[in-house]
C-alpha cells in the first residue's frame, strides 16, 4: 500500500487530510510538527509527504530542504500546504524542492487528485 506522511500542526486539517487520504486507499501517518515529520520521513521513508508550511519549530520549507539533502529521501515526492497564495511563498516552496503545493482553504477532493498526479508523475 502506498504510504503517505502528513505533517500539520492544525489538528482539524491534519485529521481531515488523513481521513481523506485513508479513504482514498492510502496508508497515512500523521504528525504535528516539522521535526517529527523529518524523523518519520528519514527513518521510514513514505511514498509521498504532505507538509504544512507553517509549523512550530521546523517549518515545512525547512523539512522539505532537509529531505532533499538526504540520500534516502532525495527523490521523495513532496506536496506543500500553504495558507498564503502569495507568489513569494510558492516560489520559496518550489525553491526548496517541493513538487506541488496546495493553498488553504483547500478542496479535499483536489488534494487527492494532486496526490495522485504527483505519484503518477513519479512512476513515469
Amino acid at each position: 500500500m502506498t504510504a503517505i506522511l502528513v505533517a500539520d500542526d492544525d489538528m482539524d486539517i491534519r485529521d481531515l487530510v488523513a481521513f481523506k487520504l485513508e479513504q482514498a486507499g492510502y496508508d497515512v501517518v500523521a504528525v504535528d510538527n516539522g521535526l517529527a515529520a523529518l524523523t518519520a520521513a528519514t527513518q521510514n521513508p513514505p511514498d509521498l509527504v504532505v507538509l504544512d508550511v507553517m509549523m512550530p519549530g521546523m517549518s515545512g520549507i525547512d523539512v522539505c530542504r532537509q529531505l532533499r539533502q538526504e540520500q534516502a529521501t532525495k527523490g521523495l515526492p513532496i506536496i506543500l500546504l500553504t495558507a498564503r497564495a502569495q507568489e513569494g511563498d510558492v516560489e520559496v516552496g518550489f525553491g526548496a524542492g517541493a513538487d506541488d503545493y496546495i493553498v488553504k482553504p483547500f478542496s479535499p477532493r483536489e488534494l487527492v487528485s494532486r496526490v495522485e498526479a504527483v505519484l503518477a508523475r513519479m512512476r513515469t
Partner: protein, 376 residues
C-alpha cells in the same frame, strides 16, 4: 469600634475571601475539566462524521445524521465545524454549509443580530459570513455602523466573505464615518467582491471624501482592474489628497499598464513629498518600462533613503537595461572625476551614495540568481 478591632474584622473577612478564592480556583478547575471531558466524549463519534462531510463525501445519509445530532452533541463539535468551514473549499465547503443551514444556524444568527450584547452580534455576523448568506447583506451593512468597533470589523469581513458587490458602497462609506472600520479591513473585504464591484469602485474615485477615494484606488490595483487605469492615473495627477495619490501610485504599479509611466514620472519631481516619490519609484519597477531607467538612475543618489532604495530595486526589474544602469552607477564610485582640480579628490558623496544603493541592489539580485540556480 477600636482600630485593632476593625483590623481583626478585616482579617476575618480576608480569611473568608481566601477560602472563597481557593474554592473558586479548585471548583472552577474541576468544573472546566469535567466539561471538557464531557465535550470530548460527546464529540468523538460526531467528529468522524464531521470529517467525512468536510472531506466532501456527498453521502446524504451522513449529512442527515449530522443534521439530526442532538443539540448537546452538536454544540460539542460545533467549534471544529466552524474551524473547518474556514479551511476547506469547493464541494466540501458546500456540504458543511448545508449542514449548518439545515441545523438552522443562519436563522439563529439572524435572530441574534440585534442582541444588546456586542459579542452576540459579532458572533452572529461571523456565522452569516461563514455561511456566505447573500440574504444577510442588508443586516450586515447595518452592523457596519454598530457602536462596537469589533462588531463593525466582523461585519465588514463577513461582507467580504459573502462577496456580493452590493456591499461596495456601504463598506466604503464606513471609512470617513465617525465610527470607522480600519481601511485595510475594508480594502480586504472589497477585494473579495468580484468584478461587479469595479464600477462602483471606479465611481468612488470621484467621491468628495478622501479616505473613500484612497481605498477605492488601492482596491482597484489589488483586484487588477486594468479598465480603471486612466481614472487612477488622473487621481495620481490631480487628487488634492496626498493619501489618495500615494494609493494611486501603488495601484498603478500593481496594474502595470505602460500608460501610467507619464504620471508616475511626474510624481517623482523633487517638490513632491518623499513618501509619494518613493511609492512612484517602486511602481515604475513594476511597470517594467525600460524607458524609466534614466530617471530611476538619477534617483539612486536621492537624499531620501526610501526613494533611492526603491529606485535601485526597480532598476533590477527593468531587465538588462536596468542592470546595466546599476553597474554603471556602481562603477562611477571607482572613477576619479576627470575635471577635478584636486588630483586626489574622490567622487562626490552623491555618486558614492548612488553607487552604494546600486551595489546593494546588484548583490541582492546576484543572491536571487544564485538561489534559483541551486534549486535542482
Amino acid at each position: 469600634m477600636t482600630l485593632a478591632g476593625a483590623a481583626l474584622v478585616a482579617l476575618l473577612v480576608m480569611l473568608f475571601a481566601a477560602l472563597v478564592l481557593g474554592g473558586l480556583i479548585i471548583g472552577g478547575r474541576a468544573v472546566r475539566r469535567a466539561r471538557e471531558a464531557k465535550r470530548a466524549k460527546l464529540a468523538k463519534p460526531a467528529r468522524q462524521l464531521l470529517l467525512a462531510i468536510a472531506a466532501g463525501d456527498d453521502d446524504d445519509a451522513q449529512v442527515e445524521q449530522l443534521v439530526r445530532l442532538p443539540e448537546e452533541v452538536w454544540l460539542a463539535v460545533e467549534p471544529n465545524a466552524v474551524a473547518l468551514l474556514g479551511k476547506v473549499r469547493g464541494e466540501a465547503h458546500a456540504l458543511l454549509v448545508d449542514v449548518f443551514e439545515r441545523r438552522g444556524a443562519a436563522w439563529r444568527a439572524r435572530s441574534q443580530l440585534k442582541r444588546r450584547d456586542p459579542v452576540a452580534r459579532a458572533m452572529a455576523a461571523e456565522v452569516l459570513g461563514n455561511l456566505g448568506r447573500k440574504d444577510a447583506l442588508l443586516p450586515l451593512c447595518d452592523l457596519l455602523s454598530d457602536p462596537d468597533a469589533d462588531v463593525r470589523v466582523v461585519a465588514a469581513r463577513s461582507l467580504g466573505r459573502i462577496g456580493d458587490a452590493g456591499a461596495t458602497q456601504p463598506l466604503l462609506a464606513t471609512l470617513p464615518s465617525r465610527r470607522p472600520v480600519p481601511a485595510h479591513v475594508v480594502a480586504t473585504a472589497l477585494t473579495r467582491l468580484g468584478t461587479e464591484a469595479q464600477g462602483a469602485l471606479t465611481a468612488s474615485l470621484d467621491d468628495p471624501r478622501a479616505p473613500v477615494r484612497a481605498t477605492a484606488a488601492e482596491v482597484l490595483g489589488l483586484i487588477g482592474a486594468v479598465g480603471a487605469t486612466v481614472r487612477v492615473e488622473s487621481a495620481l495627477r490631480a487628487d488634492p489628497s496626498l493619501e489618495v495619490r500615494i494609493s494611486a501610485a501603488r495601484s498603478l504599479g500593481r496594474l502595470g499598464t505602460r500608460t501610467a509611466m507619464a504620471p508616475l514620472l511626474d510624481a517623482l519631481d523633487e517638490d513632491k513629498p518623499a513618501v509619494l516619490r518613493a511609492e512612484a519609484a517602486k511602481a515604475l519597477g513594476e511597470l517594467g518600462a525600460v524607458s524609466a531607467a534614466p530617471v530611476l538612475t538619477e534617483l539612486l543618489a536621492d537624499p531620501d533613503y526610501a526613494v533611492a532604495h526603491n529606485a535601485a530595486r526597480s532598476l533590477l526589474r527593468l531587465g538588462n537595461a536596468g542592470r546595466a544602469a546599476l553597474v554603471a552607477a556602481e562603477h562611477r564610485a571607482h572613477v576619479r572625476p576627470r575635471h577635478s582640480a584636486e588630483p586626489d579628490e574622490g567622487p562626490d558623496p552623491e555618486v558614492l551614495l548612488g553607487a552604494a544603493h546600486a551595489r546593494e541592489a546588484l548583490a541582492a539580485a546576484e543572491l536571487d540568481d544564485h538561489r534559483k540556480q541551486t534549486v535542482p
